[in-house]
């Protein structure tokens, strides 16, 4: 199937998202899936709720069979088969009520919705292959 990995552009070398996206994409390909990875703009210092509204409006539904959102802001994308695997919560700190409500909507739609505690980034290819079965069931 066609799978889009989506995260928000962030230049923080400590963020686990970029490296994990590469390894997850490789594991999905090994499992026979087509993948594309999309980094959306998101500025934590600017009003967040308006940006989340914009991300929410972007249409992913017709592009792929499944979306896997890899961080807090990207979890609000719209798709009928959405996985959220929250590897980075960078935009959660100091979030206002509207922002938190938007996140909550995004997470509640996801099947599955996983945090890094539920599924830590694996250490080797075998671990990533196993993770694929959970995030792209």
């Amino acid at each position: 199937m066609r799978v889009i990995l989506v995260g928000c552009y962030r230049q923080d070398p400590a963020s686990p998202v970029a490296a994990s996206a590469d390894r997850l994409a490789a594991a999905l390909k090994r499992a026979g899936h087509d993948t594309d990875t999309i980094w959306l703009p998101f500025e934590p210092a600017a009003p967040r709720a308006a940006q989340l509204f914009g991300i929410r409006l972007l249409q992913f539904t017709d592009w792929c069979d499944r979306v896997i959102a890899l961080d807090a802001p990207s979890a609000v994308v719209t798709h009928q088969s959405k996985t959220v695997w929250r590897l980075d919560d960078f935009a959660l700190a100091d979030a206002d009520e509207a922002t938190l409500a938007a996140y909550a909507s995004g997470w509640s739609e996801a099947r599955p919705a996983l945090s890094v505690a539920d599924l830590p980034p694996p250490q080797n290819d075998a671990g990533w292959d196993a993770a694929v079965k959970r995030v792209a069931p």
Binding site: R2, I4, Y9, Q11, D34, D36, I38, W39, L40, P41, F42, E43, A45, A46, A50, Q51, F53, G54, I55, R56, L57, L58, Q59, F60, D62, W63, C64
Partner: protein, 345 residues
């Protein structure tokens, strides 16, 4: 300096617009700029979505960048105090294609409101831009006609000119690049029915969708052309693509009303190959000149076959056309160094 190169794209598709954005970011980096490519998916169907897309892009922020270079509708709607627009695409269905009755926006009260909103948002985004460039004369003329704006051109260079060295005149016509209805490879397959047995066709590139691939394969099989038409339908490594180009007899490129000359044409010219195209292909007609740099056919299989024969009948003449094509391209003096310099003005 930190720069975002922003463009819209269709996921899983790698075409000319995607290449241009990718290589713009790459060459900005090579020039010492901290450039980031940001590709944002956009859906144009149904027309009722268009206003949502505009609102979505208007909500996105790129505040942490010192400058933004945006290329396509609606990516250029993102606000930024230092925005350069290098225009590849407006939403043509709200402009010339509307006038031609070829728009997906219905000519209803609601449709007219959507079209008006696109015009107004475009005008606002263009007014916000510090600098604005276009990639072709067609876009330049359209911008003047519909938005009343003058914008200079920065024509896209070839991204890896060193691999298009030319080579022997092989016994095949090469149709490279994205495979899909807009590029009309099926018409080319149908033209093969009318051509002598010795001439072959190679179609190589990534299909836009599994349906496009199935349709093309089915048409080749229906016409019994499996022994004369090679379908190498995948995302080719550049070396493989260049080998096909360098060793072909001539190149065929038949987009439907495309603004630009297209990378395929540019690469063929650099490889000193004549190009066969059609009268409705758009920007490519600026440089494919009948009998000088290639052949131009009416858009139907028989006329296309005749055009191919005009090129294929005389190898010496085809070589001369290829040489003129290469010289024409070189004389245009396009380079990434110049393009980057102007984008940074």
């Amino acid at each position: 300096m930190k720069i975002a190169v922003v463009s819209t794209h269709a996921p899983f598709i790698w075409g000319g617009a995607e290449q241009l954005a990718f290589f713009a970011a790459k060459h900005l980096k090579a020039a010492g700029v901290d450039a980031h490519l940001i590709r944002i998916p956009c859906r144009w169907e149904p027309a009722e979505r268009l206003t949502d897309e505009m609102i979505a892009f208007r909500r996105l922020r790129l505040d942490s960048y010192d400058r933004v270079i945006s290329m396509k509708w609606p990516a250029y709607l993102i606000e930024h105090p230092r925005k350069t627009i290098w225009l590849i695409h407006q939403y043509r269905q709200a402009y010339d294609m509307w006038d031609a009755g070829q728009s997906n926006i219905p000519d209803t009260r609601r449709g007219r409101v959507i079209r008006q909103a696109i015009h107004e948002m475009d005008n606002r985004a263009f007014a916000e831009a510090r600098n604005m460039f276009v990639i072709t004369r067609q876009i330049q003329a359209r911008l003047k006609k519909y938005n009343g704006l003058d914008a200079p051109m920065i024509e896209p260079p070839v991204n890896d000119p060193e691999i298009f060295t030319g080579g022997t005149q092989g016994g095949y016509i090469f149709a490279g690049g994205r495979v899909g209805a807009q590029k009309r490879q099926i018409m080319l397959v149908e033209a093969m029915r009318h051509l002598r047995a010795g001439l072959k066709l190679v179609i190589a590139g990534p299909p836009d969708s599994p349906v496009e691939e199935q349709d093309l394969r089915a048409r080749v099989a229906q016409l019994g052309l499996e022994d004369r038409v090679t379908l190498d339908l995948r995302f080719l490594p550049r070396e493989d693509y260049a080998r096909y180009m360098n060793e072909c007899f001539a190149c065929a490129y038949l987009p439907l009303d495309e603004d630009s000359v297209g990378y395929v044409t540019a690469e063929a010219f650099l490889a000193a190959k004549p190009v066969i195209t059609t009268t409705d292909s758009g920007g490519v007609l600026e440089i494919v000149l009948e009998g000088r740099t290639g052949a131009v056919a009416e858009p139907n299989p028989q006329a296309l076959a005749d055009a191919i024969m005009r090129v294929a009948a005389d190898p010496a003449s085809a070589r001369t056309m290829g040489a003129e094509a290469r010289q024409l391209w070189i004389d245009q003096g396009r380079s990434w160094e110049t393009a980057v310099q102007r984008l940074m003005e």
